[in-house]
């Protein structure tokens, strides 16, 4: 298992490199630079700045310097926030983003799987149809619309929950952003789970379990659950990616101090170092999550373990 994890990590490195390279050059191709403000800077100061950040060197040399730094674990300086390096800025925003994303991840899985099981067991009943309707809502309403609706309803009309901000970091501040972030994933996961569960419940080994006299709880929990989770697992990798990109928008709307906000500002300000640093960081997180998903596969299916 350890060798497998190691090998997977090795194969992920070229992917990471390609992503960095593409981002690096696409960013430089975009018009404007970090020091192009509304009012042009005196030429001398700009030349000094460019020299300080190596922007006066040929592009390919800048690229070589950057890759060299990254290989040593240095994500470089931020171009627009003078006092912080990229790594420092990420580490400031990181706890917020991780709490938000992690909570949304867990909520998506728990509620998605539960809704899927209920849908499969109570097939074509009113609860199944209600869930299907909710799923449809979750899939069609984009998060930038869902967020203001929920803010209006629960934050202002009912005044149950704060409209935004991190406040004291208590649970109340998390409820709405996590709901917005996880709703579409609960929807997708519940559909996947329902379909898989219905198929598994019709399989021969479930018939055997019934013939042994087992009640429906042990049949679902011991025999049907694990094989039904397979398609959900394969969705979790991409879901992690969607959660991170979704968190950019959600952090912005709810005014949360996570990485997302820095990332958007950095992209608008052409803060090359910050954008690239965040991209690398996100990619690493997604790669790690995908690795965990693969290891979970092995837990779900002993045949994978044997290979």
């Amino acid at each position: 298992m350890l060798t497998y994890a190691f090998k997977r990590t090795l194969t992920a490195l070229p992917v990471l490199w390609i992503a960095i390279t593409v981002c690096f050059f696409v960013l430089r191709l975009a018009p404007g630079g970090p020091f192009d403000g509304e009012r042009p800077m005196p030429a001398g100061i700009k030349a000094n700045l460019d020299a300080h950040y190596n922007l006066d060197k040929p592009l390919i040399q800048q690229y070589a310097i950057y890759i060299g730094d990254v290989l040593q674990g240095d994500l470089g300086p931020s171009f627009t926030t003078e006092d912080f390096s990229v790594a420092e800025q990420i580490s400031i925003g990181l706890p917020y983003t991780l709490i938000l994303g992690g909570a949304a991840f867990v909520v998506s899985i728990v509620f998605g799987v539960l809704a899927g099981i209920i849908g499969a067991l109570k097939r074509n009943s009113w609860s199944d149809h209600t869930l299907a309707a909710l799923v449809l809502l979750g899939l069609v309403i984009p998060n930038f619309l869902m967020a203001p609706i929920l803010q209006l309803l629960f934050g202002i009309e009912l005044a149950w929950l704060p409209v935004g901000g991190w406040g004291d970091g208590s649970l109340r501040y998390l409820v709405l952003p996590v709901a917005v972030l996880s709703f579409p994933h609960i929807a997708r996961i519940s559909r996947l789970m329902r379909g898989a569960m219905i198929e598994v419940l019709a399989s021969n080994f479930i018939r055997t379990a019934r013939s042994k006299g087992l009640g429906s709880t042990p049949i679902v929990m011991r025999h049907a659950l694990r094989p039904s989770l397979m398609p959900v697992m394969s969705y979790l990798g991409p879901a992690a990616g969607y959660l991170l990109t979704g968190s950019l928008v959600v952090e912005q709307i709810f005014g949360l101090p996570g990485i997302g906000r820095y990332f958007i500002n950095a992209a608008l300000n052409r803060d090359y170092g910050m954008v690239l640093g965040t991209v690398i960081f996100y990619m690493v997180i997604i790669l790690i999550l995908n690795l965990i998903v693969d290891l979970l596969y092995a837990w779900l299916d002993p045949r994978v373990r044997a290979q």
Binding site: T3, Y4, K7, A202, S203, N204, F205, R207, T208, A209, R210, S211, K212, G213, L214, G215, P218, R222, H223, R226, P227, L300, D301, P302, R303, A306, Q307
Partner: protein
């Protein structure tokens, strides 16, 4: 005598999109304590559904009416909670496909334990002891280790033993066995049937044996109930039914089953011994697959076909038999170059088939056709059967007009016994037998010289099987076809073949004319195979003795397994020599070839 289980006027209906299907229509039957009832019928007879209904295991769209009495309770009216006390405890069930019938992600011991926990509140060491005891009673080798294993780590025969052990944990009064040996090789089938017979004698468990195989019935049952289209046909003691069937249908079922102990139904003039350089010559053909275990582990070479040579004459039928894993299907595919060949030569009409270029090979394929096992899965579901049969014409006879092609297809459909009106139907609208006729029509429409039938009748009911074999024989007579007929079913192979090749783990162990092979088999493995085939005659079956050889069919990855029938040689060789040594094929004269082996007395299991 009080009946253990009695079924009164049972109806089972399935709600489908095409309306209600009446699978069982008013069946009455009963099981006496301790007896073995055979429930016989072809697919669609409702034999399985009758007993699935008794266990409340019908699929979601199914419903049952009537009465099924067990110990004074009507199982159909029982609330699920009460029924669950009976299922798995007083009545238990085993199924056809032991791989998919066991939960793949649970260890054997966990699946067995939950039965004890639910029905007898046993757990811990006490439960484990009982599980182990039962695994030993069904003769699982290394039972203790098996407890910790997952189903996929066990062979098919072992999985079915686990199913039986699990079903027997609570000493049920009734064991319902739904085609328990249909998916297994004959030697394994014989062992499983022995175990079930033993349990019945020792535990007094009544058995319902649901099967299409009259041989299994003759071997196991006291009484038979015959069913057809969900209706009762006849019922009676096994000897009466076999010796004096009252209905036409039962007689037909019995007659359709080829018997290895009787002369063949139709003898054609055997094709004279093939001359060399004639038609198809296969020389030392080898097919190997690389198997990777673990990531950095060495690759293992699986020698699926390990140096096979034979010749085939024009118009001859060569039967190829062997158990699963013997490499018979791989051999077929390799000859047609549907698989990469490791080494060896195949010459076809004097030309080197393996060395042909792409275009040459394409031309050669006109004359080399194959019919596969699963007729439904081998046809493209999105093509009408007419266009499936026509496709070879499109490729190889592009000069024909659309109308000419259609005429040819219709003529061919007529020839294989399909009504012309079916030309625009899709495979899912046809029965298995009809689909196999489509497969055959597609294969022979170009008038090929050689057709390979890879388990072509194995998935079909016996009556249909007989019809398809007749069809193949007729086509052979008319078109002068050569056939390679691959099957695990010895009695079917015997019916159709001039000569038979017996394979074991990728090697030939015996090659002889069909009559010689069955009348005077030489190799212990051939003898064992023949003795394991059940004969549809209860009187004969009772007195037959089955040969039990040491060891079981081992993996083709185990290179020393090829010396299973030569323990004397195996002892005298070093490990490296063992993996290289192949028993030599010895000419016994009269076209009878036998692989070297020790005398059978050395190989028998001591009893």
């Amino acid at each position: 005598m009080t009946k253990l289980l009695s079924v009164h006027d049972l109806h089972v209906d399935f709600a489908t999109e095409d309306g209600t299907v009446n699978a069982v229509r008013g069946i009455n039957c009963y099981v006496n304590p301790g007896e073995c009832l055979g429930v016989v019928g072809e697919s669609g007879s409702g034999k399985s559904q009758t007993f699935l209904a008794a266990m409340n295991l019908l699929s979601n769209n199914g419903s049952a009416r009537g009465e099924i009495n067990f110990k004074g309770q009507n199982l159909l009216d029982l609330p699920l909670k009460k029924l669950n006390k009976i299922r798995g405890s007083s009545i238990s069930m085993i199924f056809q496909d032991p791989l998919t019938s066991l939960t793949p992600h649970m260890r054997v011991v966990d699946q067995m334990r939950e039965v004890l926990k639910f029905h007898q509140k046993l757990s811990g060491a006490e439960a484990d002891k009982k599980c182990l005891e039962w695994l030993e009673r069904v003769h699982i080798p290394e039972a203790k280790r098996r407890l910790r294993q997952y189903p996929f780590e066990l062979s098919g025969g072992m999985r079915q033993r686990v199913m039986i052990a699990m079903a027997m944990l609570c000493n049920p009064d009734l064991l319902i066995a739904d085609e328990p040996t249909t998916a297994l090789d004959v030697t394994i089938q014989a062992e499983i049937l022995d175990i079930m017979d033993e349990l019945r004698r020792e535990q007094g468990t009544a058995i319902v044996m649901i099967t299409h195989d009259m041989g299994v019935v003759a071997r196991m049952c006291d009484r038979i109930q015959v069913m057809r289209y969900g209706e009762y046909v006849e019922e009676g003691a096994v000897d009466d039914i076999f010796s004096n069937p009252q209905t036409e249908y039962t007689r037909m079922l019995l007659d359709a089953m080829p018997r290895i102990d009787k002369p063949r139904l139709e003898r054609k003039q055997p094709v004279t011994a093939p001359s060399k350089d004639s038609f198809l010559n296969v020389d030392s053909l080898k097919v190997e697959f690389d198997i990777f275990n673990g990531l950095f582990a060495r690759k293992n070479v699986l020698k699926a076909v390990d140096g096979i040579s034979f010749d085939l004459a024009k118009g001859e039928t060569l039967g190829v038999v062997g158990e699963s894993g013997s490499g018979k299907s791989t051999l077929a595919r390799a000859i047609l170059r549907l698989l990469p060949v490791a080494s060896g030569e195949v010459s076809w009409l004097g030309a080197d088939l393996m060395g042909m270029g792409k275009n040459q090979m394409k031309d050669a394929r006109q004359d080399l056709q194959i019919v596969f096992q699963d007729p439904m899965a081998s046809l493209n579901p999105s093509m009408t059967i007419g266009s499936s049969i026509m496709e070879p014409l499109r490729i190889f006879a592009p000069h024909l007009s659309k109308e000419e092609r259609r005429q040819k297809v219709e003529a061919m459909m007529d020839r294989v016994g399909l009504p012309k009106s079916m030309i625009n139907r899709y495979p899912h609208e046809l029965s298995g037998g009809q689909n196999q006729r489509v497969g055959i029509a597609r294969a022979v429409i170009l008038s090929p010289k050689l057709v390979i039938c890879d388990e072509a009748v194995s998935a079909l009911d016996v009556s249909i099987q007989a019809q398809i074999i007749d069809l193949l024989r007729d086509l052979q007579k008319d078109m002068g076809l050569s056939l390679i007929f691959i099957s695990h079913d010895l009695s079917v192979v015997r019916e159709i073949s001039d000569r038979i090749l017996v394979m074991y783990l990728g090697n030939v162990v015996e090659l002889a004319t069909s009559d010689a092979l069955f009348e005077a088999p030489q190799h212990p493995y051939t003898k064992q195979l023949i003795s394991a085939v059940p004969i549809p005659d209860p009187v004969v079956e009772r007195t037959r003795k089955r040969l039990k050889l040491k060891g079981e069919l081992s993996s083709p990855l185990d290179s020393a397994a090829r010396l299973r029938f030569m323990p004397s040689k195996s002892e005298s060789l070093s490990a490296a020599q063992k993996s290289d040594y192949r028993p030599k094929l010895i000419d016994q004269g009269d076209n009878h070839f036998v692989a070297e082996h020790d005398p059978i007395e050395m190989l028998l299991v001591d009893e």
